[in-house]
């Protein structure tokens, strides 16, 4: 900081009146540049700047009388900031904002359809997701939408699933999402059965035999925690088909019950199912399931296991089949069996041994 004082203006003058400033505070001036006009007795005189620099302060106002030697201007030698331009103003950078969170991954590919097609689908009440696309690049065209609309009107109104059907859909979906199914199948030669044998009871006993031989199939598997729980008591789920849908009530503790008791239990169960009076509790807790679908038809099947179970045994239609006995081709009654198991918790060997044990039990005369 340096101060410029009013210089001696000559002719013995001691002071002058300040007439007008020619610079403003903040201005950069160069040496010899007129700073101010002051009036002396004789004239108005311009006072030039003694130095180059920035005018920090003007020390007097127009109209004031300033004595020779009194402060006129204060200069500071500070640098002017670089504006970085010759025109306009450049704003300085602001601190950058925190990085935005990663965007959520895109959902499944949406249906490709032009807007007019979408509008048409909406008008006709057609869900684009179910429309087969015949347009370029897999796009749904308006013809596709119209075709789907026609098909829907032919097909009758959509009925939302409810009750037992809905429960089946839910359970099967869940099973499909969790279970890793594998199926091993075989046939039992039941030629030796006495007449009047109760197929269902025999099958129940076969399941017991299998579980006794391979306890690992009477178990619950928790996929999330990867824990398997072997269960001592066999609570057998019995698939029962009704007009209302599929029910799988539980026959408790089949391993400890005699045939007559089992038969009574099964009859009671069927009655209750038909009458829709099965308590909810009796629809839960199956440790393994049996489905005798052969009553209706079909021989082998890969059935669906409802978690947390790990196995389901399916029995197909009993029918004569060709077997080789004592070196000769003969017709024996055969009972097809399909054992579907959850390969996360059960090995193929375990499944095969279960089936073998079940078949051995079934092939006994009684």
């Amino acid at each position: 900081m340096s101060t410029f004082v009013l210089p001696d203006l000559g002719e013995g003058l001691q002071e002058a009146e300040l007439v007008a400033w020619h610079v403003a505070e903040g201005d950069h001036v160069v040496a010899d540049q007129p700073l101010v006009s002051v009036e002396t007795e004789k004239a108005v005189v311009e006072v030039p700047s003694p130095q180059s620099g920035r005018v920090a302060r003007l020390c007097a106002k127009p109209g004031e009388r300033v004595k020779v030697g009194a402060a006129l201007v204060e200069f500071d030698d500070g640098q002017r900031a670089d504006t970085g331009t010759v025109v306009g103003e450049l704003a300085a950078a602001t601190p950058s904002p925190a990085r935005a969170a990663e965007p959520a991954p895109a959902g499944a590919a949406a249906v490709r359809a032009a807007p007019a097609v979408r509008a048409l689908a909406q008008r006709l009440g057609v869900d684009l997701k179910i429309v087969g696309a015949s347009g370029p690049g897999g796009a749904v065209t308006s013809a596709d939408v119209e075709r789907a609309a026609r098909a829907l009107t032919d097909a009758g109104p959509a009925e939302p699933l409810a009750g037992v059907r809905r429960a089946m859909a839910v359970n099967m979906t869940r099973s499909h999402a969790e279970i890793v199914p594998a199926t091993v199948s075989d046939e039992a030669d039941i030629e030796a059965w006495r007449s009047g044998s109760d197929t269902t009871i025999r099958l129940v006993r076969a399941v017991v035999a299998g579980c006794t031989a391979v306890p690992g199939l009477n178990a619950w598997y928790d996929g999330r925690n990867m824990e398997r729980r072997l269960i001592k008591q066999i609570d057998l789920g019995l698939a029962v088909d009704t007009g209302d849908g599929l029910f799988v009530p539980v026959l408790r503790n089949v391993g400890s019950r005699d045939a007559a008791d089992l038969r009574r239990g099964i009859e009671a169960m069927k009655r209750d199912v038909r009458a829709r009076t099965v308590p909810v509790a009796e629809l839960r807790g199956q440790t393994i399931t049996l489905s005798n679908f052969g009553m209706f038809g079909g021989r082998f099947a890969a059935l669906v296991i409802v978690p947390p179970q790990v196995a389901i045994l399916g029995a197909g239609r009993i029918a004569p089949g060709a077997v080789v006995a004592d070196g000769k081709l003969v017709a024996h009654r055969l009972l097809p069996l399909s054992l579907t198991f959850d390969h996360r918790a059960v090995t193929g060997g375990e499944a095969a041994r279960f089936l073998k044990a079940a078949i051995e039990e079934l092939e006994r005369p009684e």
């Binding site: 032009a114 807007p115 097609v117 509008a119 347009g135 370029p136 796009a139 065209t141 308006s142 013809a143």
Partner: protein, 326 residues
């Protein structure tokens, strides 16, 4: 009323405009005694004299710039730029001055000037004589960009451009100068600016184009008609300000749109049209909007010219792709 060519229609409009308004001047290189290298200004010197028809020195920037000065003084200069390949130096005067003079003086000074220039290829010309720069001009606020596609439209639109109180860039399709002929009535009637024309109505697809491409587009429409496809052809004519309403009306009817222009595809004016239709007409669309344009390359020398210019086959291919969305 006899049949005249497009360039003769331009001449007719200039004659008419100069006769009815003493402030209309024609200036440019070789416009006076030569009558213009394409004869667009033929006969004007003889009829109106050297103070209405001025040969300028070779300076496109100055031609446009002095037109600004003349226009600010109340004249209506119609400046010819000999070929659009040479128009680029004039863009400075058009962007920085002609298009801004009214607004930056709040209407105190205005710029009623026209810059007209032969535009487009297909005339087997040497380099730089086949440009289609309309998108560059259309991007400039305050300008009008007009492209006639026929003798009648050249006549009516040029009259409108000259009478307009604001600057107009008038790009004449060189290829149609002599190739397009029709009857034009010299009645001094201007055609409306800022409005599309519909030379062919249809219901199945909208074909949007301007300038010389009208020829190939109409031919494609004929071919399609024989196949049972009814194409509507729209001649944009005034690219800026754009008549969006007419375009949307057509697309609402047909649901399909193909835009055809000779200029290179990327950043071409078809992109602006496609964007506006997508913004406001999306729910009418049955299929994507397609553009058929020149390749994003320099216009090749004459031997390869036909491989560059969009032709009927390319237009039809685009149409078929769009029609596949049935």
């Amino acid at each position: 009323m006899s049949e005249i060519t497009l360039v003769q229609a331009v001449n007719l409009a200039l004659q008419r405009a100069m006769a009815e308004d003493a402030n209309v001047l024609v200036l440019g290189e070789d416009v006076a005694a030569e009558g213009g290298v394409f004869r667009a200004t033929d006969g004007l010197l003889k009829r109106f004299g050297p103070e209405r028809v001025l040969d300028t020195p070779l300076a496109e920037n100055a031609i446009a710039g002095l037109s600004v000065g003349l226009a600010a003084q109340g004249f209506r200069p119609v400046a010819e730029i000999q070929f659009t390949g040479f128009i680029y130096p004039a863009i400075d005067q058009l962007v920085n001055h002609a298009s801004r003079l009214r607004t930056r003086t709040r209407g105190r000074l205005t710029c009623p000037m026209v810059v007209r220039s032969p535009s487009g290829g297909g005339i087997r010309a040497i380099e730089h004589h086949s440009e289609s720069p309309e998108a560059m001009f259309a991007h400039i606020p305050g300008l009008r960009v007009v492209i006639p596609s026929s003798p009648a439209r050249a006549y009516g639109l040029l009259l409108a451009a000259i009478r307009d109180p604001d600057p107009v860039v008038f790009l004449e399709p060189t290829r149609l100068y002599r190739a397009a002929r029709e009857e034009v009535e010299d009645d001094g009637a201007a055609l409306p600016l800022d409005r599309c024309f519909v030379p062919r109505e249809g219901t199945d697809i909208t074909l949007v184009t301007w300038g010389a491409m009208i020829k190939e587009t109409l031919a494609a429409a004929e071919t399609l008609a024989a196949e049972g496809v009814s194409a509507e052809v729209i001649d944009v004519a005034t690219l800026k300000p754009l008549d969006t309403d007419s375009l949307l009306e057509s697309v609402a009817k047909t649901g399909r749109c193909v835009i055809v222009h000779e200029a290179p595809l990327t950043g071409g004016f078809g992109a602006e049209i496609a964007a506006r239709i997508a913004e406001r007409g999306l729910v009418s669309l049955l299929a994507p909007i397609e553009r058929v344009g020149g390749w994003d390359t320099v216009m090749p020398l004459p031997r390869l010219e036909q491989s560059y210019l969009p032709n009927e086959a390319r237009i039809l291919a685009a149409v078929r792709r769009v029609l596949a969305y049935q």
